[in-house]
């Protein structure tokens, strides 16, 4: 971003770049795979139905997966932006704060109590995510840790490790759960039922709709609680609704693809770098950046350990951890 360009120009350029990247990432996700169907064959299959094997792989396997990835990316990216605004914390990330852990733990619990993964209700995951969000809220409100960006991360880490340990306990005690659960404790887009993408669409849509009326109050909240009150907003209410919104988005994404860490950190970070800190700009852009990150990460995850696939969370961790370090190393932690 050159300093000579004015803000609107920068924003416009960022949108163009991101749109191009979205197209590229979708194409990459459709054409590149871990198997032995070459990108060229996949491309041909897109246009003509002659190669039935390639066509099946591209249209029946990769297309739903790409769609799911885009959906999950939008949900996690937007959730990251909202959560960071609501907590005014540049380190807040649904995965790091235990929201994803809450969601996947709820899923695990439900499976072990007899529900089957295929018919699993989204509601369970959303409830788990809500519980995770509630913890975040509790922590920020209870001890005034909201102003200490870093301590929140530690609370999330503690919460996550505890839930993962309990999940392991369940896994050890119940072999049937263990097999189905492996799905949920490792975030991955692969191997999800085809309908997952379609069934999670309403959840993502609902979350995004709920988000709309929150944008202005959140932007005001960035100036501080008192200023926001002075401008006629209700900071507490805003924050609560924002967290509900985050819970729906993260719960849906986690139910569909398992916990994928660091996306909610990477997306707002990139968006802020591109168009500045104002949520009115970053939020919309995050809807593009999220899918880009997820789809490229997913494509990479197919290539690294051919013919196997890597959990996508491993790839996002490799991108996200350096960003986390960069943010903490910043001379002054920006308060959002």
């Amino acid at each position: 971003m050159s300093s000579s360009a004015s803000r609107p120009q920068v924003v416009k350029r960022s949108w163009l770049i991101c749109l191009t990247l979205v197209v590229l990432s979708v194409l990459a996700s459709l054409l590149i795979g871990a198997g032995d169907v070459s990108p060229g064959r996949s491309a041909q299959a897109l246009w003509s139905g002659a190669d039935s094997e390639a066509r099946f792989i591209v249209m029946e396997l990769r297309w739903p997966r790409t769609l799911l990835g885009a959906m999950v990316g939008m949900a996690l990216g937007a959730a990251g932006v909202i959560l960071q605004s609501a907590t005014r914390n540049p380190l807040a990330e649904p995965g790091l704060l235990g929201v994803s852990a809450g969601a996947s733990f709820a899923v695990v619990l439900a499976i072990s109590l007899g529900s089957s993964a295929a018919t699993l209700n989204l509601g369970v995951a959303v409830a788990g995510a809500l519980a995770g969000c509630f913890l975040v809220l509790l922590v920020t409100q209870l001890r005034g840790i909201g102003s200490d960006p870093v301590r929140l991360i530690l609370v999330g880490a503690a919460f996550t490790s505890m839930l993962m340990a309990i999940s392991t306990l369940i896994l050890l005690s119940d072999q049937r759960s263990a097999d189905e659960m492996r799905f949920w404790v490792i975030g991955a887009l692969a191997g999800r039922p085809t309908e997952t993408a379609y069934s999670s669409a309403p959840g993502v849509l609902l979350g995004l709709l709920l988000m709309l009326p929150l944008i202005r109050p959140l932007a005001a909240l960035a100036l501080g609680e008192r200023v926001a009150t002075g401008l006629g907003h209700h900071p507490q209410l805003t924050r609560m609704s924002a967290l509900v919104c985050v819970a729906i988005l993260v719960g849906t994404a986690t139910a569909a693809a398992g916990p994928i860490a660091f996306v909610g950190l990477i997306v707002p970070f990139v968006a802020r770098r591109l168009v500045g800190p104002d949520i009115r700009r970053t939020l919309w852009l995050s809807l593009l950046i999220g899918p880009i990150i997820i789809l490229f990460a997913d494509t990479i995850s197919r290539l690294v350990v051919k013919p196997y696939e890597l959990p996508i969370g491993v790839v996002t961790a490799f991108i996200g951890a350096p960003i986390l370090i960069a943010v903490v190393r910043g001379h002054r932690l920006p308060t959002l």
Binding site: L91, V139, L142, R143, I145, D148, V150, R151, I153, L154, V155, A157, A158, F159, S161, M162, L163, M164, A165, I166, T168, L169, L172, S173, A261, F262, V304, V305, Y308, E309, L310, P311, G313, V314, V315, A317, F318, G320, A321, P322, L324, I325, V328, R329
Partner: protein
């Protein structure tokens, strides 16, 4: 000018500072914190009791006393065989790893002036684990896991320390950088496990949760030797570390060569953590809980190195015993037990109002 006060008329009583016992031999003298010693004995007693229970329980139940007697070669040959050949090794591995992690946690917490800065949270465990897993699955090598764990731990510690600009600086920064480094190494471990065939992945699985089930005998030996060498050094560093709990300038003013002490402390922490992780895998919460128990019992301002070792040993063998018996015959890895107990505890530390202050 006001008149100078004069010496008190009563003779100065030669006595030790409050709470200390004092012995003198000519020009040599030793100060002993009474509560440190009494809690040390308490912890030793607890350790013996836990050891007895741990040795006694298993598929063939014995009484704790029979088990302890069998451990030193007394009693029925059958029992002696059972205890000495099968259970004792595991117990010793547990005691040693617990002690090493306890000391490592105690040192690092003091170094970073933050009770959350333990090897597990800083990512040292993850670094050691990643490299140890590499030695098993990814890279065909004959190097012992201990050596590679040491490399990994050193790498992770170096990264966390270097990238955050030193442990003491800027509050929690060191810790979050450490978390990120840990996440990187965790991802690396997963990457290697994903690349490999299932057989060696199963072999590597204990590394990712922390278990005393698959302890390599050689690594236990190395740990024992390392602990023997490391404890006196830790005690020596502990004296300097007591002063490092003040601000840097005060510590320097009192004659602590800060830079050297920091490097030595970090090296020793890495050394002990790596040797322990090479045996048990990442059971990081021991390093958080053991010094806390020790500090609670001792209740004074020092750096309770030995008591943290005893508390760590006790906790580790206790957690292992719980893991073995809770859902028998299924064995819960000791790392899982510690995470279930330690997680809420960690939250409690974080949510306490005074958690901001240094240990």
């Amino acid at each position: 000018m006001t008149a100078l006060p004069t010496l008190p008329t009563r003779p100065v009583v030669s006595e030790a500072p409050a709470g200390y016992a004092w012995w003198r031999f000519g020009r040599y003298s030793i100060l002993v914190h009474r509560r440190a010693w009494s809690s040390g004995f308490l912890l030793i007693a607890a350790m013996i009791i836990v050891s007895g229970i741990s040795l006694a329980s298993g598929a063939a139940g014995l009484s704790p006393w029979t088990a302890l007697a069998a451990a030193i070669g007394q009693g029925e040959p059958m029992h002696v065989f059972l205890v000495q050949e099968l259970r004792l090794q595991r117990l010793i591995a547990g005691l040693l790893t617990g002690a090493a992690l306890g000391v490592a946690g105690c040192l690092l917490q003091t170094l970073a002036r933050n009770r959350l800065a333990t090897p597990g949270i800083i990512g040292i465990d993850d670094g050691a684990t990643a490299f140890a897993v590499a030695s098993i699955v990814a890279i065909p090598t004959t190097l012992a896991p201990s050596a590679l764990a040491l490399t990994g731990a050193a790498t992770a510690a170096g990264l966390a320390f270097g990238l955050s600009g030193g442990a003491g600086a800027r509050g929690y920064r060191f810790i979050v950088v450490g978390i990120a480094v840990g996440a990187l190494f965790g991802a690396l471990t997963n990457l290697m496990l994903a690349r490999t065939d299932m057989d060696s992945a199963n072999q590597a699985y204990p590394w990712t949760v922390g278990s005393l089930n698959a302890r390599p005998a050689q690594a236990v030996w190395l740990l024992g030797i390392g602990l023997l060498a490391g404890l006196p050094v830790a005690k020596y560093l502990g004296r300097a570390l007591t002063l490092m709990r003040f601000s840097d300038s005060v510590a320097t003013g009192l004659g602590v060569p800060l830079k050297r002490m920091r490097v030595m402390t970090l090296l020793l922490t890495v050394f002990l953590t790596a040797l322990a992780v090479a045996v048990v895998g990442p059971v990081g919460l021991i390093a958080l809980a053991a010094p806390e128990v020790a500090r609670y019992l001792v209740g004074h301002q020092g750096v309770p190195v030995f008591n943290a070792a005893l508390a760590g040993a006790t906790l580790m063998s206790l957690a292992d015993w719980v893991g073995r018996t809770l859902m028998a015959p299924i064995e819960i890895p000791v790392g899982v037990i510690m995470a279930v107990i330690g997680g809420p505890y960690l939250l409690w530390i974080l949510l306490r109002p005074s958690a901001r202050r240094a240990p």
